[in-house]
Subunit: 195 residues, 2 copies
């Protein structure tokens, strides 16, 4: 089994994020143990998703239609746009059910290290959306990392002069987090931003 | 994105061994970011493997042909059969290059807890192979767990009276293991089996 399709499949699986050789082998054997009721349906579902899922032309979300369900939903406020790096961040916010506005998916974060500049992200399209005038608030929901914060700064800078309020996700103690286990930066921030 | 094919795909991926909801979402987004060059080829490779990989009619190994490459290889000794629980164990032994005999894959271990009895494993076919007379040694390479050892006992019992030597993988210190970190059972066994 040093070559052949099973070896190729294991190699492909092992290149998926979070998987290594051992987990890829385990998954391949599991698939082969359930060929008809799981393996073939999984492959067909992958093909269907590859064929049918679209990226929303307005916000960059993934959905069966473009514009996506969120952009088309008239019950959601067009006043607010929440800016996220990835679709997974959008999903995380949607799971809370706490937000009723629209989104804008950047497709990543500015990163000097990885050589990702503004032109590789959907920042220009965000500014265009804001210029159209309906949006009152841009909520920057970007990671509290160097890349996340430099991306937030870049976007805020480019929205100066437009009639829009720019807000950020609050920094502080995670809910349910024990103070004793927090890092110094979070404790300092939570103390300074106390309310 | 609470329904639709992307949701179904994430649900299927999250049921793979070792994956949860978060890793399944990450993999689905990764696949969608590489639709043409990875996602579609992966699905096609899964279908090809589901279609083409066979279980060897002699030993239970997975290969493109049946009997498998190992069973067909005339340079390998037909005197020795190494009994393993799963194909992954066979692969682990093959990676060492230290074994030049044949294999027999049981397809699992006897387990009172999981309700797995002898008739669900390929034990009968092992005994039939031994009865055919070519095999001189049955090497039981089963886990040093309760299930592994009761399976080994069961097989050894059923080979009594046949003209074959039954051996076991040695128990002792793992190579590279530090004595200080070993459990008591392993230290006791290594001491008793000293040579």
């Amino acid at each position: 089994m040093k070559d052949g399709p099973l070896h190729s499949l294991i190699k492909m699986l092992s290149s998926l994020p979070g998987l290594g050789n051992r987990s890829a082998r385990r998954i391949a054997l599991y698939l082969l143990s359930r060929r008809e009721d799981f393996m073939v349906p999984l492959a067909e579902m992958i093909l269907q998703v590859a064929r049918e899922v679209k990226r929303c032309e307005i916000c960059g979300n993934l959905d069966m239609v473009s514009p996506c369900g969120v952009c088309q939903d008239v019950r959601r406020s067009g006043d607010q746009v929440c800016v996220v790096a990835q679709v997974s961040d959008l999903w995380a916010i949607e799971r809370t059910g706490a937000y009723k506005g629209r989104y804008h998916v950047l497709g990543g974060l500015l990163s000097a290290l990885d050589g990702i500049g503004p032109e590789q992200l959907h920042i220009e399209s965000l500014i265009t959306r804001v210029r159209m005038g309906e949006i009152r608030e841009v909520i920057l929901a970007l990671s509290a990392t160097v890349d996340g914060q430099s991306t937030a700064h870049y976007i805020a800078d480019h929205l100066v002069g437009l009639d829009v309020q720019v807000t950020h996700f609050a920094h502080g103690m995670p809910v349910g987090g024990e103070l004793d286990y927090l890092d110094d930066g979070t404790i300092t921030t939570a103390l300074r931003s106390r309310a």
